[in-house]
Symmetry: C2
Subunit: 198 residues, 2 copies
C-alpha cells in the first residue's frame, strides 16, 4: 500500500504538470495573433493600429516651403529588427509609419538656447541661428507602409495608406498605385527611402 | 492506509504549489530593479542606458543656422506615462533623452516628392519647396534628463548629462548647474521644454 500511495502521488504530480502545460498552451493559442498581424488587421479595417505611437523611431526629416513640416518615421518590431540586421527585402509583417507636424517657430526655445549658443558660437552667429528654432506644432496626417509580399505583390509587396484625423484619407482607396510609383526609385531598398538613424 | 495516501497526495500538491510560489517570488525579487532604475544606474556610471533607442517618441524639433540639426526627444515608460496623463512634476524615474543629427539635404527625397507636390501645389511652388527636403545625417550628441527629486534637488530634481560618441562629454562633470539654469524658464512644466506631440 505504501508503494501504491507513492504511485498515486507520482500520477497526481504528472497530471498537475500536464494540466499546467495544457493551460499554458491554451493561453498561448488564444494570443497567437502577433502584434504585426493585429496592426495589419486594424489598418486594413481602416483603423490606426494599436500602440503605433510607441513604435521605435527610425529617423526624422523635414520638408520646407509650403509644406513646412517636421516628420518622424517609426517602425514596428518586425521593421526595426530588419533595419538593424540589414534585412532586405523587409519581411512580411513589417510596418513603417510616418507622422508629421507643422513646423512652428519656438521663441521659448530661442530664448533658452541664446545664452548657451552665444557662449559656444559667439554673438555674431547667434542672431542668425536663433530665429531658426522650430518645434512640432499641429499634426498633419499619418501614413503607413504595410509589408505583405503576396497580398500587395503588384505594389512592391507594400500596402500604402494615409490617415487624416484618425480615418483613412479619401484618396486612400486605390491610392496604393500612385504611392508605389513615387517609391519605385527606392527599389534597391525594398521601396523604402528612410534609412535608420544611428 | 487509503486515507493516508490521499493525505500524502494533498500534502505533496500543497508543497508543489508552495514551491512554485516561492520560485516565482524569488524570480520577482531578482528582477525587482525597474527599467527606470537600471537606466539611472547606467547613466550615473557613465554609460548609455540599455534600450533607450527604443523609448517612445515625445516630439521632434530642429535648430537651424550653424547648428543645423534635426532632433528627437524620447521618453522612458515613466516619462511617457506622465506626459500622457499630464502628471507634473514628473515622478522619480522619468528619463527624457534628446538625440540629434546634422540635417542633410536629400535630393533623393526631392526627386521622389516632386511629381506628387507638383500635382498637389502647382509647379510654381514646387521649385522653392523641393530644395528644402532634409533628412537625418551624422549623429551629433545625446543628452539625458534623469528625474530624482531627492538626489538632484539643487537642480530642479533633474540630472543633466550629455554623451558624445557614447561617452559622457568632458563638460558633463558638474555641468548640471549650467544646464539647469537654461531650463529654469520652464519651471512651470518641471524644467522640461518639450511638449508631447499628439
Amino acid at each position: 500500500m505504501e508503494g501504491d500511495a507513492i504511485m498515486k502521488v507520482r500520477r497526481f504530480a504528472l497530471m498537475l504538470v500536464v494540466g499546467i502545460s495544457l493551460v499554458g498552451a491554451a493561453a498561448c493559442m488564444t494570443t497567437s495573433i502577433s502584434p504585426a498581424d493585429q496592426a495589419e488587421v486594424a489598418i486594413s479595417s481602416g483603423n490606426l493600429p494599436p500602440g503605433y505611437r510607441d513604435w521605435t523611431l527610425i529617423s526624422i526629416a523635414r520638408l520646407g516651403g509650403k509644406v513646412n513640416d517636421l516628420r518622424a518615421k517609426l517602425g514596428n518590431d518586425v521593421a526595426i529588427k530588419a533595419y538593424r540586421q540589414g534585412t532586405l527585402p523587409f519581411p512580411d509583417g513589417a510596418i513603417i509609419t510616418r507622422l508629421a507636424w507643422k513646423a512652428v517657430p519656438s521663441e521659448e526655445n530661442n530664448d533658452a538656447l541664446r545664452p548657451f549658443l552665444e557662449q559656444q558660437l559667439g554673438k555674431a552667429e547667434t542672431g542668425r541661428l536663433l530665429v531658426d528654432s522650430f518645434v512640432a506644432g499641429p499634426a498633419t496626417n499619418i501614413q503607413f507602409m504595410v509589408k505583405d509580399s503576396k497580398k500587395w505583390a503588384s505594389t512592391g509587396g507594400w500596402k500604402f495608406i494615409e490617415f487624416d484625423n484618425g480615418k483613412p484619407a479619401p484618396q486612400a482607396e486605390g491610392g496604393e498605385k500612385s504611392c508605389y510609383e513615387c517609391h519605385e526609385p527606392a527599389a534597391d531598398t525594398d521601396y523604402v527611402f528612410t534609412r535608420y538613424a544611428q
